[in-house]
């Protein structure tokens, strides 16, 4: 899985990002100030950096200006929501910008988007006897290919991208069917049921009480 460096001075938020990224199996390291980030980068080469602007010793903008990160993609994570700062961050070469407070799903989606652009990895997942190859649009159970409709495949992709995290029916409807879809949330239930059956993932696609569904995968 991709490696991510989190540079954020607030311990709580650093941990929050760390734990969320851990859920979807990214390998993460944490730095709490500019100097610490530099020393970590000397021995470790991450695929993505999440960077807070206001950090002690050397701030985020300065780190960017000094080209400390070379060609590693950067996402700014900061409470500064002024447009000028966004523009400055993006001009300095940041790939994206997340403003606190953020939702876990938003964070994951942006991280995923940047990584897909900058570091295409093989997205092949194995859950018990089910093998899912997202790149090749291929799903096999016991080495036998399973036929999935486009919707079912998209739903599976969203679940995998946000694995170990509960997604509400509305969110799924939004992410898979799109904003302009006027269907019932029951559509989601129907598709989930089909996916469970076709892929024999009854024990992995869990119904979370009052929330929605969650695909649980071992790390």
């Amino acid at each position: 899985m991709a490696k991510i460096l989190i540079i954020e001075d607030d311990e709580a938020i650093n941990n929050l990002i760390f734990m969320n990224l851990n859920l979807v199996n990214y390998e993460c390291k944490q730095a709490y100030d500019g100097n610490e980030a530099i020393s970590i980068l000397e021995q470790w080469h991450p695929d993505l950096i999440l960077l807070d602007v206001m950090i002690p010793y050397i701030d985020g903008f300065t780190l960017m200006e000094r080209k400390i990160f070379q060609d590693i993609p950067v996402i700014f994570v900061t409470a500064k929501d002024q447009i000028a700062d966004k523009v400055k961050g993006l001009k300095l070469g940041a790939d994206d910008y997340i403003v606190k407070p953020f939702e876990a799903l938003e964070l994951l989606a942006r991280v995923e988007a940047v990584l897909r652009r900058t570091k295409p990895v093989k997205r092949k997942f194995t859950i018990e006897n089910t093998v899912i190859n997202l790149d090749e649009h291929l799903v096999t159970v016991d080495n036998k290919p399973v036929n999935l409709t486009n919707r079912e495949f998209e739903l599976l992709e969203v679940l995998i991208n946000n694995c170990n995290l509960a997604l509400s029916r509305e969110k799924l409807l939004n992410l898979v069917w799109g904003h302009d879809y006027f269907g019932d949330t029951r559509t989601v239930d129907v598709h989930i049921t089909k996916l469970r059956k076709k892929l024999r993932l009854e024990n992995h696609i869990k119904t979370v009480y009052k929330l929605g569904y969650r695909l649980e995968m071992q790390k």
Binding site: D9, A12, I13, L16, Y32
Partner: protein
């Protein structure tokens, strides 16, 4: 109508009226005077001529007694006289009863013939065919059936009247024009400051608070301009003050919003995480720990904010505060923090009492000691002193902690400014302590003096007024 126009018109109207009245009085007086003089001359001349005619007639009748008196004889007597006087524009007429004997006078009113006796003169001033005449008529004393009429042409008087009136009209018009021009220039000059003031007032009203009038005069307008400038000064001051206050408020709100964002991000993030993620026990403890911290930070923030707003709305009452008791309360209050951070608090008191508000002073000391505790490392000592120097009572809190540099010292009173953000946050600081301290010091009219050196420690002194203690 404008002010200058009013003055202009009224001055002009008053001038013209007065001038014309004066001219009228002058002209009519001089006319009447001349008329009177003419009348005198006429009567006198009439009398002389009358007696000369009468003498001639008497002489003639004595010289030629047999020559009967008749109209022809009278004619020969009067004619040379009349011819002589005609050059002087004096005309005669001689009537016998109602019958004309001789006349070179213009046609006059026949009433004149009714004159009775030589002493009884009829005097008349009459206008005939465009000329004015002065008539004097009377009977000859020796020949009462004869009436002698004397007429004097006084048209010159009328001509004089007309020409002098014309002169006055011309003079008054010329004077009016001169007066008008001079009043106009004077008024324009006098009222220019008013126009300037007027223009400036509207500029200031539309927001140009820095503008001032530049009028150097020693009259009321100069005074007005000066007073106006003073007013503009105070308006500008007030506006600046209000702007500053509102900027400070805005800054405070912006900072507050920023301050709240971090714990809120924590709370939102971790609650979402707890709700949605697959987690183990360890992660649960970390997440709830952060949740608790964030909530606690918000609580701290809100209590400090309440302190501040309480301070702002509070009416201060200064009483005698027993310093010893104040220090014991401080020790009790700070005990948990000090214990947790393994610090020692030392109090040295050389003052009996201080005039102040006990609760506020306690809050001030608590905030200072909290700050000192955050700056200190384990086993260090925080010292609180109360003493007097140069008659000024002083409260002092000093530590041997990390200190700060001069640049940071300047900003320390600003709300939400923290010397070391992460360190302060980790220890529960919200960045309002020094704001509260400054506010309380301000209430006591005390000065805040902060001395600090990096890695050496910080000393904060609250220097009270001399009058506040004995």
């Amino acid at each position: 109508m404008k002010f200058w126009q009013k003055i202009f018109l009224s001055t002009l109207v008053i001038f013209i009226t007065l001038f014309d009245i004066a001219a009228f009085i002058l002209v009519s007086y001089s006319y009447n005077f001349s008329l009177k003089r003419e009348e005198d001359t006429s009567t006198r001349e009439h009398a002389v001529i009358l007696s000369s005619i009468e003498n001639s007639i008497v002489n003639a009748s004595e010289l030629f007694p047999n020559v009967s008196y008749n109209q022809e004889r009278l004619n020969t007597i009067i004619k040379p006289l009349a011819n002589y006087y005609e050059k002087q524009k004096v005309y005669f007429a001689l009537y016998e009863d109602r019958e004309k004997i001789y006349s070179n006078a213009p046609d006059f009113d026949i009433d004149l013939l009714s004159a009775q006796g030589s002493e009884n003169k009829v005097i008349k001033n009459q206008k005939i065919e465009g000329n004015r005449y002065f008539f004097v008529a009377s009977k000859l004393s020796s020949y009462p059936h004869l009436t002698f009429i004397y007429a004097r042409d006084i048209s010159e008087l009328d001509t004089f009247l007309i020409s002098i009136s014309r002169v006055f009209v011309i003079v008054s018009v010329v004077l009016c024009v001169i007066l008008g021009i001079s009043i106009y220039t004077i008024l324009k000059r006098l009222t220019r400051p008013l126009n300037e003031l007027n223009a400036l007032t509207s500029e200031i009203a539309s927001g140009a608070y820095t503008k001032r009038v530049n009028i150097n005069r020693k009259d009321e307008l100069g005074e007005l301009a000066q007073t106006f400038n003073i007013m503009a000064d105070s308006v500008e001051d007030k506006v600046n003050q209000l702007t500053r206050v509102s900027e400070n408020k805005q800054q405070f709100i912006d900072n507050l919003a920023h301050e709240m964002k971090t714990p809120l991000t924590s709370i939102l993030g971790y609650s979402e995480y707890l709700q949605k993620a697959v987690i183990n026990e360890e992660q649960r403890i970390i997440a709830t720990g952060h949740l608790y911290e964030a909530a606690k930070r918000l609580q701290n923030l809100s209590s400090k904010l309440l302190d501040l707003s309480y301070l702002r709305s509070r009416k201060i009452e200064l009483n005698q505060v027993d310093i010893q008791a104040l220090f014991s309360s401080l020790e009790i209050l700070m005990q948990p923090t000090l214990k947790e951070r393994k610090l020692r608090l030392e109090t040295i008191n050389h003052l009996k009492w201080l005039k102040g508000d006990e609760t506020l002073l306690l809050s001030l000391l608590t905030n200072l000691v909290e700050n000192a505790a955050r700056a200190s490392t384990e086993n260090e000592i925080i010292t609180v002193r109360a003493y007097q120097k140069n008659n000024h009572p002083i409260l002092e809190v000093s530590d041997n902690g990390c200190g700060m540099d001069t640049k940071e010292l300047e900003k320390i009173i600003e709300p939400f400014y923290r010397v070391d953000k992460s360190r302060s946050r980790a220890l529960g600081g919200v960045g309002l302590g020094m704001s509260i301290v400054a506010q309380i010091a301000d209430f006591h009219e005390a000065k805040l003096d902060i001395q600090s050196q990096q890695q050496q420690g910080t000393t904060v002194r609250i220097i009270f007024n001399k009058s506040i203690t004995t």
